[in-house]
Amino acid sequence: MRAASFTFAACAALLCGCGGPQTSQANNAQANISNDSRDVNQATGSNMEARLSLGDAAKVMHARHEGMETIGKNFKVLNRELNGSSPDLAAVRASAATINQLAHNASSWFPEGTGPDVGKTGAKPDIWLPQNKADFATKLHNFQVAAPRFNAAVSGNDLNATKASFAELAGTCKACHDKYRTDMHH
């Protein structure tokens, strides 16, 4: 089971890594920033669509789980490379591109009706409370801004800038997880 999910994650990472944007990352970053407000509205379902059917909810939750797991896996790769004495820049760039792609996909990961009342998930129901919607949207937005920035930073050869940008990106994960993610144990 575990091996299977690792294999899946690895395949997903490979696919995304190959298909990720290779050129003009700075432009992509700009484009993503301007698109974010629209993405975020979709993310929390604030356009008052009807609740998802159970089947659709399961699909979204599965994509979310796999996506988050792949992001985590790539973070672990990045930790190793960036903390090591001679980082493998190709691996760093592939992981940054994967995370950037998944950050973009994350816009569709949190529609209403995909909370713990529907299925097993680490997402707290607080995400969809009316008083938290704006805050959650901001936190997701911060992640979606930091991911392309990091992806742009790794295209250069400045290791310190890359590390600083990576720390910033990790900070956006933590800010949201601290508040909206339960401690999951697989």
Binding site: G72, L78, N79, R80, G84, A167
Partner: protein
């Protein structure tokens, strides 16, 4: 008639006439700091302060290394050579045939097991990384991602072993208390009433304690700073 002069660690003041030194300051400090840091480690990791949790683990490692060294050069009751005993002595103690100062043969066994369990726990923590890949232990870069993830799972499970040993430790103190032996105050004040004829603790040298501390801090700093062969570690 010559005036009677107290010798050795015999009481000098009438107020503390019944107690003698049994635990030195380093032993007591290590004990209470460990208790505090273990509690803090548990709290911090459950309240999204994994960074503090990692530093707390590094502090615990420093204490463990210090205590290990102090076990060779410290006061008489701190030394492994005075309290690590074979099963024969443990059974003799259980039948009531033992008297002395410091760890009882059974208590010594429990202290050694707790000590080893904490070393295992810290070792697992050093190579762990969190589920999200946001935090890494100082030595996690030395092992594969799978090993690091497994180490984290075992680290979490192993805490139950540590917790069980702590519960046993506290239960033993309560058991002795019910039978009329107070063990907590001596661990605070360092002094206890001894049976007549029992040799009191022989203190260690303060400068030896400082050297042990410096070595312990040096080793942990070496690990954390990522000096060779450990590689670089960036605290999150």
């Amino acid at each position: 008639m010559p005036r009677q002069v107290p010798h050795g660690h015999a009481p000098l003041r009438p107020g503390d006439g019944l107690t003698q030194p049994v635990w030195d300051a380093p032993v007591r400090l290590v004990h209470w700091l460990l208790a505090g840091l273990i509690a803090f480690s548990w709290w911090s990791v459950h309240h999204h302060h994994t960074d503090w949790h990692i530093w707390s683990g590094c502090a615990i490692l420093t204490l463990l290394i210090f205590r290990l060294l102090w076990g060779f050069v410290g006061s008489s009751t701190a030394r492994f050579s005075t309290f690590v005993r074979g099963p024969k002595t443990v059974f003799a103690y259980l039948r009531g045939g033992w008297s002395g100062v410091g760890h009882t043969p059974l208590g010594a066994l429990s202290i050694i097991v707790i000590f080893l369990a904490l070393f295992v726990q810290v070792g697992l923590g050093l190579i762990s990384e969190d589920e999200d890949g946001i935090y890494t232990g100082p030595l996690s870069g030395l092992v594969s991602i799978n090993t690091s993830d497994t180490a984290r799972d075992v680290h979490e499970l192993w805490f139950n072993v540590v917790l069980g040993l702590i519960v046993l430790h506290v239960a033993a103190i309560v058991f002795y208390r019910v039978r009329g032996r107070k063990l907590t105050m001596p661990m605070i004040t360092g002094r206890a009433a001894l049976d007549p004829g029992t040799q009191p603790m022989r203190p260690g040298k303060w400068w030896a304690a400082l050297i042990c501390l410096a070595v312990a801090i040096g080793i942990v700093r070496w690990i954390v700073a990522g000096a060779p062969p450990f590689g670089h570690w960036t605290p999150s």
